[in-house]
């Protein structure tokens, strides 16, 4: 849940990158880390196995600057995508203000995308979070691979985006779609915060 302090005029929001194993969640954070000026980001913390698979989470804090007079910070987390790390995945999801679902566009990964999307719904439900009101955006990563290996964004929308969340084609390794995804989620999270407080 966002932390809003009216005295110091600061907002801190938690954004979680979710999705199946090897879909590119850590790659998104690594690209953001490389591109954001040093004085606007913190250390990137990765709790990973020796083979660099995410074990618990990756974490990257970034400072957006002033939004409507509030110093705004985002805490970006990834979850471990592998199926058997569900317990830790659920912990990272706790207190999330918004979710980026990073799908692997490869046709052979479709079942993993669907399973991970179902798992996201189940874990949000266990935290008592209403998935209908939580800001979520989808990113269809690896769209740079040969066309015969990947599903198109339209096909992926039909397969996993039954809530018609905003979706973005991406090639996270080269950065395509990374900022657009983050921007879309940022806007939705801040809009929800604004609406919730003024309701």
């Amino acid at each position: 849940m966002s932390l809003v302090n009216f005295t110091t005029r600061e907002i801190t929001c938690k954004l979680v990158y979710y999705g199946p194993g090897r879909s590119g969640k850590t790659t998104n954070l690594q690209y953001i880390y490389q591109r954001v000026p040093e004085d606007r980001r913190g250390r990137m913390v990765s709790l990973a196995t020796q083979t660099d698979r995410t074990l618990f989470f990756d974490f990257l804090p970034i400072e957006l600057g002033a939004i409507s007079g509030f110093k705004t910070r985002f805490q970006l987390y990834t979850v471990p995508g592998q199926v058997y790390y569900n317990a830790t995945r659920k912990l990272v999801l706790q207190g999330a203000d918004g979710v980026v679902f990073v799908a692997d566009s490869q046709a052979r990964q479709l079942d993993e995308n669907i399973e991970s999307m179902q798992n996201l719904h189940a874990n949000l439900l266990e935290h008592g979070i209403d998935v209908r009101t939580l800001p979520v955006v989808l990113q269809y990563n690896k769209q740079d691979l040969p066309a015969d290996l990947v599903l198109t964004p339209v096909e992926l929308d039909e397969a996993i985006n039954f809530r018609t969340w905003p979706s973005f084609a991406a090639d996270a390794l080269k950065g395509k779609g990374v900022f657009e995804t983050l921007r879309a989620l940022s806007e939705r999270v801040l809009r929800r915060l604004s609406e919730a407080e003024s309701a």
Partner: protein, 159 residues
């Protein structure tokens, strides 16, 4: 120069007293989700967030193991290193659950930290204000313009 800083102002004095009495080098109060409430000794706001995320992760995973074993909620964890000790406590306040992450050096001890942690919890309970009404609006309706400018400057390009 080390500083003590609080996002929630009512936590500032209790934390200052704790740091002085327990001889803590670093101290951090957070929510269970890792949001920073107050801190002492960290020099960069963004680094303190990494420590908060790691502390919250340790607390969350330990609590989950406790739950699996049907054990009561843990109160504190400690690790004694060669140069530093780390103490992580989990406690309730009238404003909700909090975590305290404390790093201490040779000038202190786990006993001192534990002793004054009890005082800190008591003082926080006494200092916690009744939940005040917040202003109805946080962000202006046209916050998108600020957001676009911030993201553009953050990523060094037009978005």
């Amino acid at each position: 120069m080390t500083t003590t800083r609080a996002v929630e102002p009512w936590t500032l004095e209790p934390l200052r007293r704790f740091v002085a009495e327990a001889g803590a080098r670093l101290a951090l109060l957070t929510t269970p989700a890792g949001q920073v409430i107050a801190q002492h000794g960290f020099t960069r706001a963004v680094d303190v967030m990494a420590a908060a995320a790691l502390g919250a992760a340790i607390a969350a995973s330990t609590a989950e193991i406790n739950r699996m074993l049907d054990e009561p909620k843990f109160r504190a964890l400690t690790h004694q290193g060669v140069r530093h000790g780390i103490f992580l406590a989990n406690f309730e306040t009238p404003r909700g659950s909090m975590l305290a992450l404390v790093v201490y050096g040779a000038g202190s001890s786990i006993g001192l930290v534990q002793l004054f942690m009890e005082d800190l919890v008591r003082e926080l309970a006494a200092a916690a204000p009744v939940r005040e009404a917040q202003p109805r609006t946080v962000l202006a309706a046209d916050f998108e313009r600020d957001l676009n400018q911030s993201l553009a400057s953050l990523f060094g390009r037009e978005i």
